[in-house]
Symmetry: C2
Subunit: 113 residues, 2 copies
DNA sequence: CTCGATTACGAGCCCCGTAAATATG
DNA sequence: CATATTTACGGGGCTCGTAATCGAG
């Protein structure tokens, strides 16, 4: 499964239709149709019910969409964290302690950072 | 990003080396090398430090691995839930209530399921 | 009638395998 | 020395676009 597929699912759910979602995603309707079918094949269940005015999540679809939202968010968070590390906004603070170092000079050193 | 890539990362971390991980994954070592580089390109950071005896996670790598573990688990959980739904082990229980239905016959009906 | 599904075709990309040479700690 | 990286080559699969047609609520 690709993270892109999660966005596809969420877009279809948001727009309530494959055609509209495809337009919003900047892709063709047949491509998105196939993408959704791909995911449904991987889960082994119909995730959307096709109606005359578009699509609506099935019960299984609702459950999977909830998980998809969660996973998509955590993936984005992971990338954000990496971006933060990259731009130096955030770092990993490591504190080492050795009994041979006087506590006073240790904290003085920390403070000077 | 593909979920497969998460497994690649975790395997490399587990085995402490790209060569060994590649063997465990049943793929070639150059392919896994490129896969890791792919992920590192997407995160914009080096996730593993190359040593003489294999590789070790960098600080950024440790952070990303933790998130990767979490996401991989949640993805598996999502698939498991779908599998459970599919095989009827689990379902979505919906209870509807209408004042016009006598409570006694309602519960009698539920019990008969 | 509206929207999704399907078909057919092809283009392009991506991932991987193999094999050998190179770099690094 | 062991391990990872790089290079070159090719195969295979997957994803998408287009265009047109079919199917169903």
């Amino acid at each position: 499964m690709e993270t892109r597929d999660l966005d596809y699912l969420l877009a279809v759910d948001e727009h309530g239709g494959i055609g509209k979602a495809a337009e919003a995603l900047g892709m063709s309707q047949p491509a998105l149709t196939k993408a959704i079918q791909r995911v449904e094949a991987q889960t082994g269940l119909a995730l959307f019910q096709r109606t005359a005015h578009g699509v609506a999540p099935t019960q299984a679809g609702s459950l999977f969409l909830a998980r998809a939202r969660r996973i998509a968010l955590e993936y984005e968070d992971a990338l954000k964290e990496m971006r933060a590390l990259r731009s130096g906004e955030q770092g990993v603070l490591s504190l080492g302690y050795s009994p041979t170092v006087p506590r006073r000079s240790f904290w003085a050193h920390v403070a000077s950072c």
